[in-house]
Structure formats: structure tokens, C-alpha cells
Amino acid sequence: MTTEASQHPLELTNDFAPGESNFIKVDNFKFFYGKKEALHGINLEIPSRKVTAFIGPSGCGKSTLLRNFNRMNELIPGVHHEGDITIHGTSIYDPSVEIIALRRRIGMVFQKSNPFPMSIFENIVYPLRIAGQNTRSVLEETVERCLRSAALWDEVKDRLHDSALGLSGGQMQRLCIARAVASRPEILLMDEPCSALDPIATAKVEELIIELKKDFTIVIVTHNMQQASRVSELTAFFYLGNLVEFDNTRKIFTNPSMKQTEEYITGRFG
């Protein structure tokens, strides 16, 4: 399936006009590491149940924006923001928003897979356990559901209680995806999820992403242009802390409006 996808990169993505059923809305958002302004007033509307790709040269602020959607960047000392991000019409900075609840509704997959040093089973049920859910049947059901949706069930079903650190790199990353969907989030954030994987593992994860968008709103950061065109409906191109262009993936890759975008996707810089 994915080999086909790489032959016809644009066939899998259907056209979609930005602005339809907005889900995550970024409103004149600025972000500061200390005095350094990493994002200069971003405006962006991400639709639900689609895959949106963030592309752009290193250091342009893709991860910074992504990590603000679940307020992970607040763990870094000395940061602050201006502007607003709303999800479902509610500001994530509203005092009534519980950061814990927010992060449970937004799964995150990191560049380097980071399974806990526990069994495969315990890794996946961790989000449930910390929410006080310890019923055996619920946990077992969740493990199967998540491993199936991460296309990992058949490979590990006989060794659920073995250490997760014994898995291969690609399996570990899919385990992290399984863990990220355990608390039934609506949004899945992925920061270069395939950059440490070989082509076969990458293909599996890409297949998975396309599968998962039925249930999740997915935002993926990637340096791989083919990957962006294979998996995403929408693509946002960032440059030096600015959003340069945000449009249909097909349009971005075939007929971008901005010169900078064209130069980047044709590989003339970055």
C-alpha cells in the first residue's frame, strides 16, 4: 500500500479547503524563549480529522508551535507567549482549562521514541493508571485496542509483559503511538515521528497515520517532503518563525503561491 503511495504521492490525499470545520485555531500567537522570539504572530486554522503537515527549515519554529498545542513548552523555564490558541472554541490558556485534562485529550509522539522502562502492557496503560483506572478488563481491552490501532498487535501480542525496551526502533515508535492514543485523545501531535526509523518502519508508521486520521486530528512535523505529500491533506510552511503559506498539500507541492515555499520544496534552500 505504501509502496504504491510513494509511486503516486498525491493520489492518497484528497483536496480540502482550509477554513472548513476549524478545530485548532491559532490566533496571532507569539512565543518567547526568554527574550528570544521564536514565533512571530502565527495565524492558523487546523481542521478536524485531517492530517496537517508542518514543514520548513530547521529552527523555523515548527516544534515550538506544535508543543504549544498541549502546552508542553511551558515545562521550559523562562518562556512566555502572546496571542491565543483555541481548541473547539475554548482557549487552552483559559484559567478553567486543566493542563492535565488538556494533555489527555491531545496525544503526542516525539521524534525519538520514548517508551518507559516497563513492560509493553504497562507502557500503554500508563495514561489510564495515572487517571486512576486499574480495572484489569478495561486495561486489557485498552492494550488490545491501542496496539491494533498502532498496527503492532500481531507482532507483540505474545510478549505483552516483556520489556518495551526490547522492541525494535520502529516497534518502539508504534508503541509510543499506541500509548498516545490510550487516553482516547482527539488530537495527535507528531514531531518528526519517522526521522529515526528505516524506510520500512517509516512506511508502516505512514500507513498508520493515514489509518488514524479517521479518528484523530493529526498534526505532523516532518522534514521529509515525500512524507508530507503522502500523508497530509494540508501543509503549513514555516520560515524563521513565520507562517509563510498554508494550503492544500497538493497545491503547496504543485503550485505554491509564495516564492519562498517553492524554493524550499524544490530544495533550493533549507
Binding site: 489527555r104 496525544g107 516525539f110 520514548n114 522502562p117 500508563y126 493508571r129 495515572i130 525496551l165 500509548r179
Partner: protein, 296 residues
């Protein structure tokens, strides 16, 4: 080698006697030999001590040593069961105070407020205290506990030892926490865990083997120190009845008996040394087995 290598193909890899190769080869071998010799030399004192203690400690070794009380001056027979128990009790008391305090402080310093002035102050004081002479801990516990309770006691001895080992436990625990990859914390926060859950379920278990290594170092130090217990717990010829009583310890027993003019007491002191070394080694091994990382 580069200077001689081009002379002829036959001698490509061998020193030809000209140039510097032979000298370099010789210097290399000489320095390697020197390093090996010096490493062996550092083992000499260690082995001499162990052999000496085993040689002198073994003759009296029997079950009686562990179950009987020390003999009166000039008498033979008996053991030092009360001193072993006393050492265990006082080390135990010191751990009860220092382990929770040290680990909690390390968690605060490393996890909650790593860049605060309070964290810097705690780190600075802990480093300063690791160098404190053990007798000062004894003096302090004497003033703070013995003078106020009007009693020499196991509690006072335990507190003196706790003060002695607290900085070691704090600093090694901090290093242990630092060694836990940030990615684990990120993963935990990312699925909505609170800082407390992250520390309790992920960070602490992962850091535990290294923390325990620090604790065992501290136990070894506490069990062997004489000065802090010398004038806080004093000594006792009898079994310990409560923690508010003067209490015997192996280290003070060795110190006392070794300076007595009775041959049997001196032999007892040797045996007590052997038991002390064995206890420390054994607890070290046990801790390594119990707290070995499970998911590697």
C-alpha cells in the same frame, strides 16, 4: 611510523631501527607497564588490610561472637552480639532520618525547582557538609540530643550518623535523578501525568538503583565511623533495651578493646573488624541484587 614506512615495502609495518619508531615503541610499552604497575600498587594497601583482618579475625570466629556479650576485662570467652545489634540499630535510625530527607531534598532540587536560589543553597550546603569531619557531627548530636535528653543513647548516635551521611545521600540521589533521561519525563507529562505521578511512577523507579548505591555507600561509612557514636551512644556491656539507652557499637568496641591490655579483648577487636567489613560488603551486594534495574 609514517617517516619509516616508505623506505621499503618489506619493512612497512616493522620498526627499522632508524628514526623514532623504536623509541616510540619502547616509550609506549614502558608507559603501559608503568600504568599497570601503579594500578597494582593501589591494590596493595586494600589487600593487605583485608588479609590482615581475615588472618587476625578468623581464629575467634564462631556463633558465640554473634550471640554472647563481651567478657569482663581479663576474662576469656563471650562475643559482641550487643555491638552488632547496636550498630544495626544506629545505622537503621540514621537511615530512617537521612534517606527520606535526602531523597526528598534531591527531588526538590532536581525536579521541582532546579534553578531556584533555594536549590542552589541546598546544593552548596550539601557539598560543604560532605567534607565535614565526622567528630563534628558527634559534637553537634552531643549538644543537640545528649545534653537536652540528659542521656547517651542510640537515638543520639543515630542522629549523629544521619547528619554525617545526609549530604552523601542527597548528592548521589541528585546525580541519580539527573541520570534519568528527560525523554521519560516528557513522555509522562505528554499523556497528562502530574509532576508527582511522573516522579513517583517513572523517575524514582528509574533512579532507584543509583540512589541505592549512594545509600549503601552511606551505610558503609555510617557503620564504620567511631567518632560520631563515641560520645553520643557511648558504649554498653549489655544488650540494647531501648533507643534511649547507651548503646554498644562495633566501631566503638574495636576502639575500646584494641587499647586494652588483655589478649582476648584484642582478638575480639580483630574479629569485630572482620564482622564489620563482612556486614558492609554483604549489605552492598544485597542492595545491588535487590535494586538491580529490571527492564534492561
Amino acid at each position: 611510523m609514517t617517516s619509516t614506512a616508505t623506505h621499503s615495502d618489506k619493512n612497512f609495518f616493522s620498526a627499522d631501527g632508524k628514526g623514532t619508531s623504536v623509541f616510540r615503541l619502547f616509550r609506549n610499552r614502558f608507559l603501559t607497564g608503568l600504568c599497570v604497575a601503579l594500578s597494582l600498587l593501589t591494590l596493595v594497601p586494600l589487600f593487605s588490610i583485608v588479609i590482615l583482618v581475615i588472618q587476625n579475625g578468623c581464629p575467634l570466629l564462631s556463633a558465640n561472637l554473634f550471640t554472647q556479650l563481651p567478657p569482663a576485662p581479663g576474662m576469656d570467652g563471650g562475643g559482641f552480639g550487643n555491638a552488632i545489634l547496636g550498630t544495626l540499630v544506629m545505622v537503621g535510625i540514621s537511615l530512617v532520618f537521612s534517606v527520606p530527607l535526602g531523597i526528598l531534598a534531591a527531588i526538590f532540587v532536581n525536579e521541582y525547582a532546579p534553578v531556584s536560589w533555594l536549590a542552589s543553597a541546598v546544593r552548596f550546603v550539601a557539598k560543604l557538609l560532605t567534607g565535614i569531619p565526622s567528630i563534628i557531627c558527634g559534637v553537634f548530636a552531643f549538644a543537640a540530643v545528649v545534653m537536652t535528653t540528659h542521656k547517651f543513647s542510640a537515638l543520639a548516635g543515630g542522629i549523629a550518623l544521619a547528619i554525617l551521611i545526609l549530604p552523601t545521600i542527597l548528592l548521589t540521589a541528585e546525580q541519580a535523578l539527573l541520570g534519568v533521561p528527560y525523554a521519560f519525563r516528557e513522555a509522562s507529562f505528554g499523556v497528562g501525568a502530574t509532576p508527582f505521578q511522573t516522579i513517583w511512577r517513572i523517575v524514582l523507579p528509574e533512579a532507584m538503583p543509583a540512589i541505592m548505591t549512594g545509600v549503601m555507600l552511606a551505610v558503609a561509612r555510617a557503620a564504620g565511623e567511631t567518632a560520631p557514636v563515641l560520645f553520643t551512644a557511648l558504649f554498653s556491656q549489655n544488650w540494647i533495651k531501648g533507643i534511649m539507652e547507651p548503646t554498644a557499637s562495633l566501631s566503638v568496641l574495636i576502639y575500646n578493646f584494641a587499647s586494652l591490655p588483655y589478649a582476648y579483648h584484642i582478638k575480639l577487636a580483630w574479629s569485630a573488624s572482620l564482622v564489620l567489613v563482612a556486614l558492609v560488603t554483604l549489605s552492598n551486594i544485597l542492595a545491588q541484587v535487590i535494586f538491580a534495574p529490571k527492564h534492561r
